[in-house]
Symmetry: C2
Subunit: 137 residues, 2 copies
Protein backbone atom coordinates (compact mmCIF):
# COMPACT_ATOMS: atom_id res chain seq x y z
CA UNK A 1 0.00 0.00 0.00
CA UNK A 2 1.18 3.52 -0.80
CA UNK A 3 1.77 5.54 2.37
CA UNK A 4 2.85 8.87 0.91
CA UNK A 5 5.04 10.45 -1.72
CA UNK A 6 8.57 9.86 -0.47
CA UNK A 7 10.38 12.14 -2.87
CA UNK A 8 10.36 13.83 -6.26
CA UNK A 9 13.44 13.52 -8.43
CA UNK A 10 14.21 16.62 -10.49
CA UNK A 11 16.85 16.55 -13.24
CA UNK A 12 19.08 19.62 -13.31
CA UNK A 13 22.17 20.49 -15.34
CA UNK A 14 24.01 21.85 -12.33
CA UNK A 15 23.47 21.55 -8.59
CA UNK A 16 25.63 24.60 -8.04
CA UNK A 17 23.32 26.71 -10.19
CA UNK A 18 19.97 25.26 -9.07
CA UNK A 19 20.48 24.88 -5.31
CA UNK A 20 20.42 28.68 -4.75
CA UNK A 21 17.02 28.85 -6.49
CA UNK A 22 15.57 26.23 -4.13
CA UNK A 23 17.14 27.89 -1.11
CA UNK A 24 16.49 31.54 -1.86
CA UNK A 25 13.50 31.77 -4.20
CA UNK A 26 11.59 28.93 -2.53
CA UNK A 27 13.13 29.19 0.95
CA UNK A 28 13.78 25.43 1.30
CA UNK A 29 16.72 24.05 3.26
CA UNK A 30 19.36 21.89 1.55
CA UNK A 31 19.75 19.01 4.00
CA UNK A 32 22.60 17.19 2.34
CA UNK A 33 24.41 16.46 -0.90
CA UNK A 34 25.35 12.92 -1.85
CA UNK A 35 26.96 11.24 -4.83
CA UNK A 36 25.36 7.96 -5.93
CA UNK A 37 28.10 6.43 -8.06
CA UNK A 38 25.96 3.49 -9.25
CA UNK A 39 23.44 5.92 -10.78
CA UNK A 40 26.09 8.38 -11.99
CA UNK A 41 24.39 11.25 -10.21
CA UNK A 42 25.06 13.82 -7.53
CA UNK A 43 21.94 14.65 -5.52
CA UNK A 44 20.83 17.46 -3.21
CA UNK A 45 17.94 16.90 -0.77
CA UNK A 46 15.37 19.45 0.42
CA UNK A 47 12.36 18.83 2.67
CA UNK A 48 8.91 20.23 1.78
CA UNK A 49 6.46 18.92 4.36
CA UNK A 50 6.59 15.12 4.38
CA UNK A 51 8.09 14.96 0.87
CA UNK A 52 11.73 15.34 -0.13
CA UNK A 53 12.79 17.10 -3.29
CA UNK A 54 15.87 15.45 -4.76
CA UNK A 55 17.81 17.43 -7.34
CA UNK A 56 19.76 15.13 -9.67
CA UNK A 57 22.88 16.19 -11.56
CA UNK A 58 24.60 13.79 -13.96
CA UNK A 59 28.23 12.98 -13.17
CA UNK A 60 28.81 11.39 -16.59
CA UNK A 61 27.49 11.80 -20.14
CA UNK A 62 26.01 8.30 -20.03
CA UNK A 63 24.11 8.94 -16.79
CA UNK A 64 20.35 8.38 -17.09
CA UNK A 65 19.95 11.99 -15.98
CA UNK A 66 22.15 13.27 -18.82
CA UNK A 67 20.04 11.28 -21.29
CA UNK A 68 16.80 12.58 -19.79
CA UNK A 69 17.94 16.21 -20.04
CA UNK A 70 19.15 15.67 -23.59
CA UNK A 71 15.74 14.42 -24.71
CA UNK A 72 13.34 16.41 -22.49
CA UNK A 73 15.31 19.21 -20.91
CA UNK A 74 15.59 19.93 -17.20
CA UNK A 75 12.50 19.08 -15.15
CA UNK A 76 10.73 16.58 -12.94
CA UNK A 77 12.26 13.16 -13.59
CA UNK A 78 10.43 10.74 -11.32
CA UNK A 79 7.99 10.35 -8.45
CA UNK A 80 8.76 7.95 -5.61
CA UNK A 81 6.06 6.48 -3.40
CA UNK A 82 6.83 5.14 0.09
CA UNK A 83 5.13 1.74 0.37
CA UNK A 84 4.74 -0.70 3.24
CA UNK A 85 5.52 -3.81 1.13
CA UNK A 86 7.51 -3.26 -2.03
CA UNK A 87 7.13 -6.79 -3.42
CA UNK A 88 3.37 -6.71 -2.94
CA UNK A 89 3.11 -3.23 -4.51
CA UNK A 90 5.24 -4.29 -7.47
CA UNK A 91 3.06 -7.37 -7.94
CA UNK A 92 -0.13 -5.30 -7.78
CA UNK A 93 1.24 -2.85 -10.34
CA UNK A 94 2.30 -5.62 -12.73
CA UNK A 95 -1.01 -7.43 -12.33
CA UNK A 96 -2.66 -4.22 -13.49
CA UNK A 97 -0.63 -3.61 -16.61
CA UNK A 98 2.45 -1.73 -15.36
CA UNK A 99 5.87 -2.86 -16.60
CA UNK A 100 8.61 -3.19 -13.97
CA UNK A 101 12.12 -1.98 -14.79
CA UNK A 102 13.39 -4.23 -11.98
CA UNK A 103 11.69 -7.57 -11.49
CA UNK A 104 12.87 -7.58 -7.91
CA UNK A 105 13.67 -4.54 -5.75
CA UNK A 106 17.27 -3.34 -5.72
CA UNK A 107 19.35 -1.45 -3.18
CA UNK A 108 18.84 2.30 -3.46
CA UNK A 109 20.31 5.33 -1.73
CA UNK A 110 19.86 5.79 2.00
CA UNK A 111 19.60 2.06 2.81
CA UNK A 112 16.30 1.64 0.96
CA UNK A 113 14.92 -1.03 -1.32
CA UNK A 114 13.64 0.51 -4.56
CA UNK A 115 11.89 -0.62 -7.74
CA UNK A 116 10.85 1.36 -10.79
CA UNK A 117 7.96 1.15 -13.24
CA UNK A 118 8.59 2.02 -16.88
CA UNK A 119 7.01 5.36 -17.89
CA UNK A 120 5.62 3.82 -21.09
CA UNK A 121 3.38 1.70 -18.88
CA UNK A 122 2.43 4.46 -16.40
CA UNK A 123 1.11 7.23 -18.65
CA UNK A 124 4.45 8.99 -18.89
CA UNK A 125 5.55 9.08 -15.25
CA UNK A 126 8.74 7.27 -14.22
CA UNK A 127 7.47 5.78 -10.95
CA UNK A 128 9.51 4.45 -8.04
CA UNK A 129 8.40 2.42 -5.04
CA UNK A 130 10.66 2.50 -1.99
CA UNK A 131 10.75 1.19 1.56
CA UNK A 132 13.36 0.85 4.28
CA UNK A 133 15.49 -2.26 3.84
CA UNK A 134 14.45 -4.89 6.41
CA UNK A 135 17.19 -5.35 8.97
CA UNK A 136 18.97 -8.69 8.73
CA UNK A 137 18.03 -11.17 11.43
Amino acid sequence: MIQKIDHLGIAVRSLDQSIPYYEKALGLHCEHIEEVASQKVRTAFFAAGEVHIELLEATSDDSPIAKFIESKGEGIHHIAFAVDNIQAQLGQAKDNGARAIHEVPIDGAGGKLVAFLHPKSTFGVLTEFCMPKPTEA
Copy 2:
Protein backbone atom coordinates in the same frame (compact mmCIF):
# COMPACT_ATOMS: atom_id res chain seq x y z
CA MET B 1 6.84 30.30 3.49
CA ILE B 2 6.31 26.91 1.86
CA GLN B 3 4.29 24.60 4.10
CA LYS B 4 4.19 21.47 1.96
CA ILE B 5 3.63 20.24 -1.56
CA ASP B 6 -0.08 20.78 -2.17
CA HIS B 7 -0.38 18.81 -5.39
CA LEU B 8 1.35 17.48 -8.46
CA GLY B 9 -0.26 18.09 -11.83
CA ILE B 10 0.18 15.24 -14.31
CA ALA B 11 -0.75 15.67 -17.98
CA VAL B 12 -2.56 12.67 -19.46
CA ARG B 13 -4.20 12.10 -22.83
CA SER B 14 -7.26 10.47 -21.29
CA LEU B 15 -8.66 10.39 -17.77
CA ASP B 16 -10.74 7.35 -18.68
CA GLN B 17 -7.60 5.41 -19.58
CA SER B 18 -5.29 6.64 -16.83
CA ILE B 19 -7.62 6.65 -13.79
CA PRO B 20 -7.74 2.82 -13.67
CA TYR B 21 -3.91 2.74 -13.49
CA TYR B 22 -3.88 5.06 -10.46
CA GLU B 23 -6.72 3.14 -8.82
CA LYS B 24 -5.67 -0.42 -9.52
CA ALA B 25 -1.92 -0.49 -10.08
CA LEU B 26 -1.18 2.11 -7.40
CA GLY B 27 -4.23 1.54 -5.19
CA LEU B 28 -5.05 5.25 -4.82
CA HIS B 29 -8.62 6.49 -4.45
CA CYS B 30 -10.11 8.90 -7.03
CA GLU B 31 -11.74 11.52 -4.82
CA HIS B 32 -13.44 13.58 -7.47
CA ILE B 33 -13.44 14.69 -11.09
CA GLU B 34 -13.88 18.33 -12.01
CA GLU B 35 -13.85 20.34 -15.21
CA VAL B 36 -12.00 23.67 -15.02
CA ALA B 37 -13.37 25.49 -18.05
CA SER B 38 -11.01 28.47 -17.72
CA GLN B 39 -7.99 26.16 -18.05
CA LYS B 40 -9.63 23.90 -20.65
CA VAL B 41 -8.95 20.80 -18.58
CA ARG B 42 -10.79 18.01 -16.85
CA THR B 43 -9.06 16.89 -13.67
CA ALA B 44 -9.16 13.84 -11.41
CA PHE B 45 -7.88 14.06 -7.81
CA PHE B 46 -6.16 11.34 -5.76
CA ALA B 47 -4.67 11.64 -2.26
CA ALA B 48 -1.19 10.25 -1.47
CA GLY B 49 -0.40 11.23 2.11
CA GLU B 50 -0.62 15.01 2.45
CA VAL B 51 -0.19 15.56 -1.31
CA HIS B 52 -2.84 15.38 -4.01
CA ILE B 53 -2.14 13.99 -7.44
CA GLU B 54 -4.13 15.86 -10.06
CA LEU B 55 -4.48 14.20 -13.46
CA LEU B 56 -5.08 16.78 -16.19
CA GLU B 57 -6.81 16.00 -19.49
CA ALA B 58 -7.19 18.68 -22.16
CA THR B 59 -10.75 19.49 -23.19
CA SER B 60 -9.62 21.44 -26.26
CA ASP B 61 -6.71 21.35 -28.73
CA ASP B 62 -5.58 24.79 -27.55
CA SER B 63 -5.52 23.78 -23.86
CA PRO B 64 -2.12 24.28 -22.18
CA ILE B 65 -2.21 20.55 -21.42
CA ALA B 66 -2.69 19.63 -25.07
CA LYS B 67 0.32 21.81 -25.97
CA PHE B 68 2.42 20.27 -23.19
CA ILE B 69 1.66 16.71 -24.35
CA GLU B 70 2.36 17.65 -27.96
CA SER B 71 5.85 18.91 -27.11
CA LYS B 72 6.88 16.65 -24.20
CA GLY B 73 4.45 13.76 -24.10
CA GLU B 74 2.40 12.67 -21.11
CA GLY B 75 4.04 13.22 -17.73
CA ILE B 76 4.41 15.43 -14.69
CA HIS B 77 3.30 18.94 -15.67
CA HIS B 78 3.72 21.07 -12.54
CA ILE B 79 4.39 21.10 -8.82
CA ALA B 80 2.26 23.21 -6.50
CA PHE B 81 3.46 24.38 -3.10
CA ALA B 82 1.03 25.36 -0.35
CA VAL B 83 2.26 28.67 1.09
CA ASP B 84 1.12 30.80 3.99
CA ASN B 85 1.41 34.13 2.14
CA ILE B 86 1.26 33.94 -1.64
CA GLN B 87 2.17 37.59 -2.29
CA ALA B 88 5.22 37.35 -0.03
CA GLN B 89 6.30 34.05 -1.60
CA LEU B 90 5.89 35.48 -5.11
CA GLY B 91 7.93 38.52 -4.12
CA GLN B 92 10.68 36.37 -2.60
CA ALA B 93 10.84 34.22 -5.75
CA LYS B 94 11.00 37.25 -8.05
CA ASP B 95 13.64 38.92 -5.87
CA ASN B 96 15.74 35.80 -6.39
CA GLY B 97 15.53 35.56 -10.16
CA ALA B 98 12.29 33.65 -10.80
CA ARG B 99 9.91 35.00 -13.43
CA ALA B 100 6.22 35.13 -12.49
CA ILE B 101 3.61 34.11 -15.06
CA HIS B 102 1.07 36.09 -13.04
CA GLU B 103 2.19 39.34 -11.45
CA VAL B 104 -0.62 39.00 -8.93
CA PRO B 105 -2.28 35.78 -7.79
CA ILE B 106 -5.40 34.68 -9.68
CA ASP B 107 -8.42 32.60 -8.70
CA GLY B 108 -7.73 28.88 -9.08
CA ALA B 109 -9.79 25.74 -8.63
CA GLY B 110 -11.25 24.90 -5.23
CA GLY B 111 -11.51 28.51 -4.00
CA LYS B 112 -7.73 29.03 -3.93
CA LEU B 113 -5.47 31.87 -4.94
CA VAL B 114 -2.72 30.64 -7.26
CA ALA B 115 0.36 32.03 -9.01
CA PHE B 116 2.83 30.34 -11.34
CA LEU B 117 6.55 30.72 -11.98
CA HIS B 118 7.82 30.25 -15.52
CA PRO B 119 9.79 27.00 -15.96
CA LYS B 120 12.55 28.82 -17.88
CA SER B 121 13.34 30.63 -14.64
CA THR B 122 13.01 27.62 -12.31
CA PHE B 123 15.34 25.04 -13.87
CA GLY B 124 12.61 23.41 -15.93
CA VAL B 125 9.85 22.99 -13.34
CA LEU B 126 6.54 24.78 -13.84
CA THR B 127 5.97 25.88 -10.24
CA GLU B 128 2.72 26.97 -8.61
CA PHE B 129 2.14 28.63 -5.26
CA CYS B 130 -1.34 28.31 -3.76
CA MET B 131 -3.21 29.24 -0.63
CA PRO B 132 -6.85 29.38 0.45
CA LYS B 133 -8.54 32.59 -0.66
CA PRO B 134 -8.97 34.90 2.33
CA THR B 135 -12.64 35.21 3.25
CA GLU B 136 -14.12 38.63 2.53
CA ALA B 137 -14.71 40.81 5.56
